[in-house]
């Protein structure tokens, strides 16, 4: 066979045949890579167990949607498009890189199936891919170095910026595609010079450009470029492979697995320890995450997979108001610790240093409202809520609970509500109802089809009792046979669990489950999304649970409820998605459709709505926590409503209403902005 240029596999380095070198490079590279991966797997093996991998169809679907199709990327358009181009380029060039590896061993090697027509088509595709990858890499470097999007910044307390690593890797990628282009371009230039049959290069690809540039180059120079670019490609490729597991580019390898393993069910919290039953909990030596190895292996994989893109923190309400929490650094600090404690070369560091006070701070972990915005946004499916709750469980177990939270927790333990109000007063809110509306007392022997689960804040808070009254009025008007548990109801424990007091949560769950089952109700309705989420996702074996917006919408569609038109034409309404109705339970449209059922209503959506809704400040125990913060989340939210041109914020959660009403006062918008609960709005417009 005649060669226009000596192929890499035939040349030699001094007296050593090149094929030997080009066999050794992959052998050494792959061996080293396997060793590094094994060392990275070590902390995962030592970590706590995680859930068994089931729900395969959903997981495969998530891999296709979130990993392969990069579904979440365009939420940040510029960066998203860049990443999609880079990612698809990588996928396309993967085969070519494999093929090139063998070209150094056997001249003119083609992977099986890449020799014929398919190979020709693939050749065109991958040539364009290599070209756009270069364009994208340069563009990405420009973004990193010149545009500098704010979310990439690293606050001083979290260490040094990661720009250098990013640019370095983009440089490696550029070298890879450039080397490949020169390798091919120089060959085709030589073939043409020698009048040999040259394969056609796709126009405007790197190889095509280089073969034009090199058209008149002397043969010696072409040979040098051809051989040298191959060498550079081979070495760079394996260097790149082994460099990945040392930083944020580990995601190139881990993201596929991370997305496969990501949350399928929303709204739930991981058990204290997988594989340990409820009855065995008392025998556990320790609760929650206290040291690095208490994290589950999947959580360690999260640390490895963080790309440092900052999308989580950019959407984190705690971060936005200056609380000492930035979810991105939960991952980055975790990764730094894993890397430091389990180095690739050398012995693991001994010692079980507590995480709190070293890697993480108490206030950092208490700052989270568990709104889920970070998890919604992460393009590789990293989760934070379970980690935060596990760290809180560890702090609760060690007694590290802020004084502001100790009182309400103790009150819930003693009285079943965080204010320590008397149990017997739990149903007092019903006294203000019109006499025609009878709320059945299921704790006093009455029977009803539907149980209205009120929960603590609506039962006891003077202002929020009006949500209970409005809900009762609506249920009554729709002709629903309903009742409440009264003094037999205790706090749903939604935040008790999310604040790490698992055993107290379990005793609340046990009590409420028993009471609900005893009541004989066949359906549960609640106006409190936190109660909804608890009953639906934290409790087991209950009758079906619905939020009042879902329940009422069906009544409206059936025509059992009729509404009067809105009187005040100057009012512009906006709907604020409560985190535990929206993101955690996927209920976005029902409340909107219900609002729109009011004749003549003007409703606008805020820029941040539906799954990008912005937490108002958190519910349950979060009302008692005194965070360090520059401003209130609610104030930011109220301003967003103002920007949307609204003057009435409709919520569907008592905690949202507390936070937003307070925020309106703090923001000085009293008289210009008002807040109302969905049930209050609907009840006020009922046709009598």
């Amino acid at each position: 066979m005649d060669f226009a240029l000596i192929p890499p596999a035939i040349g030699s380095f001094w007296f050593i045949p090149a094929w030997l070198i080009y066999t050794l490079i992959p052998v050494v590279g792959i061996t080293l890579f396997i060793y590094i991966i094994v060392m990275r797997l070590k902390p995962m093996v030592l970590a706590a167990p995680d859930k068994p991998i089931n729900e395969l169809p959903q997981r495969i679907f998530q891999v296709i949607k979130i990993w392969l199709l990069q579904y979440r990327h365009p939420r940040y358009m510029a960066a998203g498009v860049l990443h999609i181009l880079l990612f698809s380029g990588f996928l396309l060039l993967g085969l070519r890189s494999l093929e090139l590896m063998f070209v150094g061993i056997k001249p003119g090697f083609h992977l099986p199936g890449l020799g014929g027509t398919f190979g020709a088509i693939y050749g065109v595709l991958r040539s364009y891919a290599a070209t756009w990858v270069l364009v994208v890499a340069v563009w990405a470097m420009y973004r990193r170095l010149v545009v500098k999007p704010a979310r990439y910044e690293v606050p001083a307390k979290y260490g040094k910026p990661h720009t250098a690593e990013a640019v370095f890797v983009l440089g490696l990628i550029s070298i890879l595609v450039l080397a490949e282009g020169f390798f091919e371009g120089s060959l085709v230039a030589a073939q043409k010079q020698q009048g040999m049959e040259a394969h056609t290069l796709a126009p405007f690809t790197l190889a095509w450009i280089f073969h034009h540039v090199l058209a008149a180059a002397p043969k010696g120079m072409l040979q040098f470029i051809h051989s040298f670019s191959y060498f550079v490609h081979d070495v760079t490729f394996f260097f790149f492979l082994c460099f990945l597991p040392f930083g944020k580019h580990f995601h190139v390898i881990t993201s596929l697995f991370n997305v496969f393993l990501m949350r399928v069910q929303r709204g739930n919290i991981k058990p204290v320890k997988y594989g340990v039953s409820r009855e065995q909990l008392d025998d556990l030596e320790s609760f929650g995450v206290k040291k690095l190895e208490d994290f589950t292996w999947r959580h360690i994989l999260h640390f490895y997979s963080c790309v440092d893109c900052g999308r989580c923190s950019d959407n984190c309400p705690a971060n936005a108001v200056g609380r000492p929490l930035s979810p991105r650094f939960i991952s980055i600090k975790g990764r730094n610790l894993v890397f430091a404690k389990y180095p690739v070369f050398g012995e693991p560091k001994a010692g079980d240093e507590p995480l709190i006070g070293t890697t993480y701070e108490e206030d950092e972990i208490w700052s989270c409202t568990t709104c889920g915005a970070c998890e919604q946004e992460c393009p590789v499916g990293i989760e934070y809520i379970d980690k935060i709750v596990d760290l809180r469980r560890g702090m609760v177990d060690e007694g590290m609970v802020p004084q502001s939270l100790q009182k309400p927790l103790s009150a819930i333990e003693k009285r079943g509500n965080p204010w320590g109000k008397m149990e017997k007063k739990r149903a007092e809110w019903t006294k203000a109802l019109d006499e025609s509306i009878h709320v059945k007392a299921l704790d006093a022997g009455e029977q009803a089809e539907v149980l209205y689960f009120v929960d603590s804040i609506t039962s006891f808070d003077d202002r929020m009792q009006s949500i209970g009254q409005a809900t009762a009025k609506l249920l009554h008007s729709a002709g629903v046979d309903f009742g409440i548990l009264g003094k037999s109801e205790k706090d749903s424990g939604h935040e008790v669990r999310r604040f790490g007091e698992e055993m107290l949560f379990q005793s609340l769950r046990e009590h409420n489950t028993e009471m609900i089952k005893e009541s004989g109700a066949t359906k549960i309705v609640t106006a409190d999304p936190h109660a909804l989420n608890a009953l639906k996702n934290d409790y087991e074996g209950l009758p079906p649970v619905e939020h009042v917006s879902q329940f009422l919408l069906k009544q409206v569609r059936k025509g059992t409820l009729k509404f009067k038109p809105i009187e005040d034409g100057n009012k512009v309404y906006t709907y604020h998605d409560p985190c535990y109705l929206g993101r955690h339970n996927g209920i976005y449209e029902d409340p909107r459709e219900l609002i729109d059922a009011l004749p003549g209503i003007r409703r606008v959506d805020m820029l941040r709505s539906r799954d990008r809704s912005f937490c108002c400040g958190g519910g349950g125990l979060m009302l008692f926590y005194e965070p360090e913060e520059d401003q209130r989340m609610g104030v930011l939210r109220v301003k967003m409503a103002e920007e949307a041109g609204a003057n009435v914020i409709v919520t569907a959660c008592p905690f949202c209403l507390v936070n937003i009403e307070d925020a309106i006062k703090v923001a000085g918008l009293e008289g210009k902005m008002e807040a109302i609960d969905l049930s209050e709005l609907m009840a006020a417009h009922l046709v009598d």
Partner: protein, 263 residues
């Protein structure tokens, strides 16, 4: 350092609505929830911190009925090493002096370097700490908000004085201190913590075990006797605002404005 902390089970003022019985003999106790007296909780936390720093052990003691055991378990879940329940029908109706007499007897049975009490109890009159020290003839510092334990026979204790300033005193061991809230941040005790110490034996001592004659404690020995509970009549010039919280606030603001307190 061997530390004894005297604690009391009291109706939790934050979680109860205190009402007086119709006959004026007591408060309504039917629907009360109880917890450890807040000041005592700070004292226990301080004792645990001192022990963790210099070694030794912490014992918590209470005078009460069988139900008082729950506060001992709670303090043991915090980290106290041992609990002692002092319970006897003969103790019922003791005044402050009676309680101090009972506590003195248990102090004499042990060998303690430091005895801590809360500065007062939610349902008490801030008597016991001082009386106990006097009966034991030990040095006493009250309202302590800072304890510095060195290696010597004396320790330094602080008290907050006017203007947010701090006063420090030196006191010889053994001694009695009454602890003020805010001296530390007491740790949280969850259900799990209490369950862990649920089966630890708590010794109970009655009057006989303590060598106390029945007539030195209880109702008979009390020199201060409670005679009545009542809600005071509204005095002249007093006004109780009625209505919802919003209405009350509006009225209050109106009143403050009217009297020139708010502009």
């Amino acid at each position: 350092m061997e530390i004894l902390v005297c604690v009391k089970r009291v109706p939790d003022t934050a979680e109860n609505e205190i009402e007086i019985k119709g006959d004026g003999t007591d408060i309504e106790r039917d629907d009360l929830v109880y917890s450890v007296n807040e000041w005592d909780n700070y004292a226990t936390e301080e004792a645990i911190q001192i022990r963790d720093n210099v070694g030794g052990s912490v014992t918590v003691v209470t005078v009460g009925d069988d139900e008082a055991e729950e506060v001992l378990r709670r303090q043991m879940a915090m980290g106290a090493d041992k609990g002692i329940l002092l319970s006897d029908d003969a103790f019922e109706g003791s005044d402050g002096r009676g309680i101090a007499t009972i506590l003195k007897a248990i102090v004499k049975k042990g060998s303690y370097d430091l005895i801590l009490t809360g500065a007062q109890a939610d349902d008490g009159a801030a008597q016991v700490g001082g009386m106990l020290a006097a009966m034991l003839d030990l040095p006493y510092a009250s309202l302590v908000n800072k304890v510095d334990v060195g290696s010597g026979k004396t320790i330094k204790v602080g008290r907050e004085i006017e203007g947010g300033n701090q006063e420090m005193s030196e006191i010889e061991l053994p001694c009695v201190l009454s602890i003020q809230t805010g001296i530390n941040e007491p740790r949280y005790v969850g259900i799990r913590g209490i369950r862990k110490v649920a089966s630890v034996e708590i010794p109970t001592h009655g009057a006989g075990d303590l060598g106390l004659s029945a007539d030195s404690v209880g109702t008979g020995a009390a020199r201060v006797k409670r005679v009545d509970y009542f809600t005071p009549e509204m005095g002249a010039g007093a006004e109780i605002l009625e209505g919802s919280i919003e209405e009350k606030i509006d009225k209050l603001i109106e009143l403050l404005k009217a009297k020139g307190g708010l502009k």
